[in-house]
Amino acid sequence: MFDCKRKVAAMLALVAGLLNMSPSGLAQEKTKPENQRDKLSVAEFEKLHKELTRHELWYSIPWKTSIREARELAVKEKKPIAFWYVQGNVLSLC
């Protein structure tokens, strides 16, 4: 009976130890805990949302994403094609 209790206690200690060393515990040590993080104010929300979602100037260019559509329009309007192609996410090109 005693051995059984010791085993249970040892297992509980092991579990508690594992919980203390859990990934979330490590993460909390390295970034600010929730109670130390600043709550987002409406003013900050507005500023960040505007900054991140605004379209940069080049985005206003009426890009075609289909070669066929671009070629058909170029013939119709007698214009050359400015073909921009990149590797990876198009927005990653600087």
Partner: protein
């Protein structure tokens, strides 16, 4: 960015037909592939006739704003010279492709959300990779972008002032870097590097009278190292006549990247915790929807951040009691 020049934007918008494609995009028509093959198949800008002839001897890449504009002006002058000499542009599409969609169509009743992220601060000393030396600062400060789908049921629930679990998880699971190389390890590259359901350690989100508030904490550990993101959430949701008209959310917090993994060029990433924000907004204007690629650009369409995706987590794998 050299393209962010008012004169160049005007020039490309009015005197050219601007075409943007990803290198890995699948080209559905034989003549699409032939047109693409006529370029040098290397990243950059090409000025071409509709037949696919190059108007400049080389690609245009790595130029200043003035340099880029001059190159397009040269190309336009060459095209006009050919027109004056009697050249008539022509193009005969290859057969069989007319029914193939050339535009992304959202599922019926669904709403498309654009997510963008941005690194808000970093130590310039962390920009150490020679491969990125010319544009390391711009790359680090550039917003990443990806699209998400709010399914019909979620749209209806939000319009009624409800916040479904699937919407909460869609936001949490999307706190990743759409730029799949060169920056944050937690990226849209593949399932391994995205957050997994059991990476979610805490998620509190509440929608009350159109105001969405909460916090989120994520942590990942794998064979390449460990990293985390913890942030505060604020958003505004509105509906009019039963239709969702606003879904604006910002998540601002701290990220940590202690992963050793390198892609082909290596990565520039802040060494300690760094501030990063994410913003979500509805995309419903026709001209914006038209810019969503209609086909996958990568081999794995399910992971392609350029295509809108619904929640990709298995809800049953989210640890119990984590979401409040």
């Amino acid at each position: 960015m050299a393209l962010n020049d008012p004169e160049t934007v005007e020039l490309l918008s009015t005197k050219f037909v601007p075409l943007a494609q990803n290198k890995h995009e699948r080209r559905p028509f034989k003549d699409d592939a032939e047109f693409y093959e006529k370029t040098l198949r290397n990243d950059g800008f090409y000025a071409m006739t509709p037949e696919g002839e190059m108007l400049l001897p080389d690609r245009v890449m790595g130029f200043t704003k003035d340099g880029l504009r001059r190159k397009f002006q040269e190309a336009l002058a060459e095209f006009d010279k050919r027109l004056k000499a009697g050249y008539v542009p022509s193009y005969t599409p290859s057969a069989g492709g007319k029914s193939t969609p050339t535009r992304y169509r959202p599922p019926a009743g669904a709403a498309i959300v654009m997510m963008r992220n941005k690194v808000l601060g970093y130590d310039p000393k962390d920009l150490t990779l020679p491969a990125y030396r010319y544009f390391a600062k711009e790359f680090m400060e550039q917003t990443g972008q990806m699209y998400l789908v709010l399914p019909k049921g979620d749209v209806a629930a939000l319009a009624q002032g409800k916040l479904p679990l699937s919407v909460k998880l869609l936001i949490a699971s999307s706190l990743i870097d759409p730029a799949i190389e060169g920056r944050w390890y937690i990226s849209a590259l593949n399932a391994t590097q995205r957050w997994a359901p059991d990476d979610l350690k805490d998620l509190r989100m509440n929608l009350k009278q159109g105001r969405l508030t909460g916090s989120v904490r994520l942590y990942k550990k794998d064979g390449n190292g460990e990293g985390s993101y913890a942030g505060e959430i604020l958003g505004f949701v509105k509906a009019s006549k039963g239709k969702l008209t606003r879904f604006d959310v910002v998540v601002k917090g701290e990220a940590l990247d202690k992963f050793e993994w390198r892609d082909t060029q290596g990565r520039n990433v802040p060494k300690g915790p760094f501030p990063m924000a994410f913003a979500f907004t509805l995309i419903d204007k026709d001209e914006d929807l038209a810019k969503i690629p209609y086909q996958a650009m990568y081999e794995n369409a399910a992971a392609d951040p350029n295509l809108p995706h619904e929640l990709q987590w298995d809800v049953n794998k989210v640890p119990r009691g984590i979401v409040k």
